[in-house]
């Protein structure tokens, strides 16, 4: 990249991160996804300001109202109300905490733990490492939802256990990908060179290898996040997740199923919210993946 303030002509190769960023900005869909996700995040953070009502406030005079554009709808409930007279819009806004915020938290915790273990395993050799790989293969071949179901069966369905279950289920995925990435990077020339230079193991890990696997971690993060969102929602849908009256999107969908014939709109907003969230995260992860592939070529 040319820096204009510099008098001398100087070519600087863009860093991998800058390259990826540029590729990102090229694609309008990705940019849109980026903004949509940002809006969803903001909506989640400022739900108390944005939401017209409390998510648990029941309006006895407005049971199962259709959305405002429907002839029977009312302006004060833009997306209608549910069967207990609660404003669906407010519930979806507050629900973002359960359906996006908590998965995000679970993913971050899982990432920290998983990356640490994965890095450690990636640096170690021999039996220890191959045992771990095989063990992870077993755990990973079992669907995360199934494992989460088992954990919920042990601990009972509450918000805490669902969080524990999802975090536990995600950790092996991080270990696996980080371990593999370390494994491939470890034998590359630049690492060997640094090693010959006498860098400490710690330095090697943090300053030499880690920057080069950031993208792998980020992709894994987006993948884990969408898994976490869908799993928490699926647990809620099965009635084994976050319990009432929490406005979790999966639970709301399960409830709307009971009215799908007479009030199909009640499954509209939570479903769309869930879909849009997962879609934007997948688009971002996917384009990141492609950008990195492009670099490799």
């Amino acid at each position: 990249m040319q820096t204009k303030s510099n008098i001398f002509y100087q070519f600087r190769a863009p860093s991998p991160r800058q390259l990826i960023w540029r590729q990102f900005n090229d694609n309008p869909i990705v940019v849109t996804a980026y903004y949509v996700l940002a809006i969803i995040m903001l909506a989640m953070l400022f739900a108390p300001i944005l939401a017209p009502y409390s998510p648990e406030q029941q309006f006895n005079d407005a049971i199962s109202l259709p959305p405002a554009w429907h002839p029977e709808g009312e302006m004060r409930f833009v997306f209608g109300t549910d069967d207990l007279g609660r404003d669906i819009l407010s519930r979806v806004l507050y629900g973002a905490r359960y359906s996006l915020g908590y998965p995000l938290l679970a993913t971050i915790i899982a990432a920290v733990i998983g990356i640490t273990i994965g890095a450690w395993a990636g640096m170690s050799r021999g039996v220890q490492s191959s045992t771990l790989t095989h063990f992870l293969d077993v755990v990973l071949s079992i669907p995360s939802l199934l494992l989460a179901l088992v954990i919920v069966a042990i601990l009972g369905p509450t918000l805490h256990t669902v969080m524990i279950a999802i975090t536990l289920v995600l950790i092996p995925q991080f270990i696996h990908s980080v371990h593999n990435a370390f494994y491939t990077e470890r034998s590359k020339e630049y690492v060997i060179a640094s090693k010959l230079n006498g860098c400490s193991r710690n330095y090697l890990l943090r300053r030499v290898i880690f920057p080069n696997i950031t993208s792998v971690v980020v992709i894994q993060f987006t993948y884990a996040l969408s898994t976490a969102i869908l799993d928490i929602a699926a647990l809620g849908f099965l009635g084994l997740g976050v319990q009432a009256p929490a406005p979790e999107w999966g639970t709301m969908l399960a409830r709307s199923m009971e009215h799908m014939y007479l009030s199909p709109w009640s499954m509209l907003l939570p479903g769309v919210a869930l879909f849009m969230t997962v879609l934007t995260i997948n688009i971002l992860g996917d384009s990141l993946h492609r950008a990195i592939q492009q670099q490799d070529r």
């Binding site: 069967d83 207990l84 319990q243």
Partner: protein, 539 residues
């Protein structure tokens, strides 16, 4: 091989109209979409409405029946009966040539005899009987109704005559014999099972004298019955009766609309009435003596304090609950007795919605900051409560107003009832359907000490005063005196509030327009013996 099949399926779709059925099967078959799995195939063992619906009137017969319209007892397996010893001995003469079901696993060698009746009753009367302990050894109806103590012994006089010897004179005896629970089993079958070493099959692969016989049960999926060709009243018109188990109320309704169900249990009436369907569906209603209530586990603190219970009763907005949950198809309850009962009078002690008062009472009880508790809500629809889970959410929101944090607990229906009977709950949203018209039947099985032991008293409330009042009320013969006494009992119950009565509701059933003759007796159960499907019905 699978791919062509799928292509065939897709090509079928192209020309696919309404889903046609194989004709013969449709003509003499009937699908009843029920709300849950029966706990057993013998109603002696379980009082749940689901079990009764699935078994009593279909598989079995009783000695006598109660005709609700004529308000008399009519002969069934006993074609006549007489009393001796001033009403302490009843003699029943059995109908000759009544055949038990002939199935793959049992072939009867003889018709119904006195020994079958003796077996059916001594099984639960005598704790040392070989079959007493089989499949749990709990006989909740007989314990709660007092029949266990009322009948001293059952003797066969000869092969067609049976005597019942009672411990005291009791006019409710015949009424109890006519309930869905006093069914007649086959002693010969029991003997065969004992020889095979599989006594537990008695209640799982049932043999009775009823209009239908058991073919198969697949849990969570279906129960399949076939017509009993040798039925003593003549074989039923329906040859194949299937209970399709559909716990979700909305799915049941949709299946009725799409024609996958012919008859459904507990329809969502308001939803059905909001639209016109082709072909039309019909909704019938009957009055049903039932009551939905919110029971507090009085053995657990803080619910052992009447103040706390009163506070919670004031905290919930019952009129709003009745409006939201029942859509006006029910009556707000003021006491345990429904307004249709002859002993009913509006109660003086009521609990209007008053969060302020509730907080004040909680403060007096020593819980100024509230507490945490569980609300157990039935997972499936009942006659008395179309959606207990939703009701629990309303109550949860109301309780949050007075600082009480409630979490909702629900299990699959049978697990739920077993755990309730063990008293694992703090509070529970359940209800009661009376087995007969006597006011005693609303109070004794739900609140007495003996009911607390047999597991039907969800409040686990045992109050000597209450039991005493109940006893004196049933011994009284003057209707006016009885009414006054029940009034006093109601007031006492409402002061103590071991449970908060919520509503009593009508009983509904919905079916396809061409199905006739499905009967809903007022005191529970459903009967398919006279059901039939009409070929051509003018729309």
């Amino acid at each position: 091989m699978k791919t062509p099949l799928l292509l065939a399926a897709l090509s079928l779709l192209a020309g696919c109209g309404p889903l046609e059925l194989h004709q013969d099967i449709n003509r003499d078959g009937l699908v009843f979409c029920s709300e849950g799995n029966p706990e057993s195939f013998n109603p002696q063992l379980d009082t749940s409405g689901t079990t009764v619906d699935a078994t009593s009137a279909q598989l079995y017969d009783r000695l006598i029946e109660y005709d609700a319209e004529q308000q008399t007892f009519v002969p069934s397996l006993a074609h006549k009966w007489e009393t001796f010893d001033g009403g302490r001995r009843y003699r029943f003469h059995l109908r000759p040539n009544v055949q038990f079901h002939q199935t793959d696993w049992f072939t009867p060698t003889r018709p119904l005899q006195a020994s079958d009746v003796v077996f059916s009753f001594t099984r639960w009367l005598d704790p040392h009987h070989d079959y007493h302990k089989v499949n749990g050894g709990q006989y909740p109806f007989f314990r709660a109704s007092g029949l266990m103590r009322l009948i001293e012994r059952v003797e066969s006089v000869n092969s067609t005559t049976v005597d019942f010897v009672l411990t005291r004179v009791d006019s409710s005896f015949l009424a109890n014999l006519a309930t869905d629970f006093a069914v007649i089993l086959s002693a010969e079958y029991a003997q065969q099972l004992t020889q095979q070493g599989t006594p537990e099959l008695l209640d799982r692969h049932p043999i009775g004298t009823g209009p239908f016989q058991f073919i198969e049960f697949r849990k969570d999926l279906l129960i399949r019955y076939g017509a009993n060709a040798n039925y003593w009243q003549g074989a039923p018109a329906i040859k194949h009766l299937v209970y399709s188990i559909t716990p979700n109320a909305n799915k049941r309704m949709l299946k009725l609309i799409t024609g996958e169900c012919d008859v459904i249990a507990y329809p969502l009436v308001t939803q059905l009435e909001q639209r016109d369907y082709k072909p039309p569906v019909k909704v019938t209603q009957t009055s049903s003596p039932n009551i939905a209530f919110w029971a507090f586990n009085t053995e657990r603190p803080p619910f052992d304090q009447a103040l706390v219970r009163q506070a919670l009763a004031h905290a919930i907005n019952r009129p709003a609950i009745v409006q939201t949950i029942y859509n006006g198809q029910a009556q707000l309850a003021t006491g345990m007795l429904p307004s249709t009962s002859w002993a009913y009078q509006p109660s003086a002690t009521d609990y209007p919605y008053d969060p302020k008062r509730a907080r004040e009472l909680l403060r007096q009880a020593g819980y100024p900051n509230g507490f945490a508790m569980t609300i157990w809500a039935a997972p499936i629809q009942r006659v008395y409560n179309p959606n207990a889970l939703r009701m629990a959410e309303l109550i949860q929101a109301d309780l949050a107003q007075i600082g009480v944090t409630a979490s909702i607990v629900s299990y699959e229906w049978n697990t739920f009832r077993q755990r309730l009977a063990r008293g694992e709950h703090d509070t529970a949203l359940v209800g009661w359907v009376a087995d007969n018209a006597d006011p005693d039947n609303f109070l004794r099985p739900t609140l007495s000490c003996s009911a607390a032991r047999s597991g039907t008293n969800r409040a686990l409330w045992c109050d000597a005063d209450f039991d005493q009042q109940l006893l004196s009320a049933i011994q009284s013969t003057d209707p006016q005196d009885r009414q006054r006494r029940y009034q006093a009992i109601e007031t006492y119950v409402m002061q103590q509030v071991p449970l908060v009565p919520i509503a009593s509701s009508l009983r509904f059933q919905a079916h396809q327009h061409n199905i006739f003759g499905v009967e809903l007796p007022p005191y529970g159960g459903i009967r398919f013996v006279n059901a039939r499907r009409a070929e051509h019905v003018p729309l």
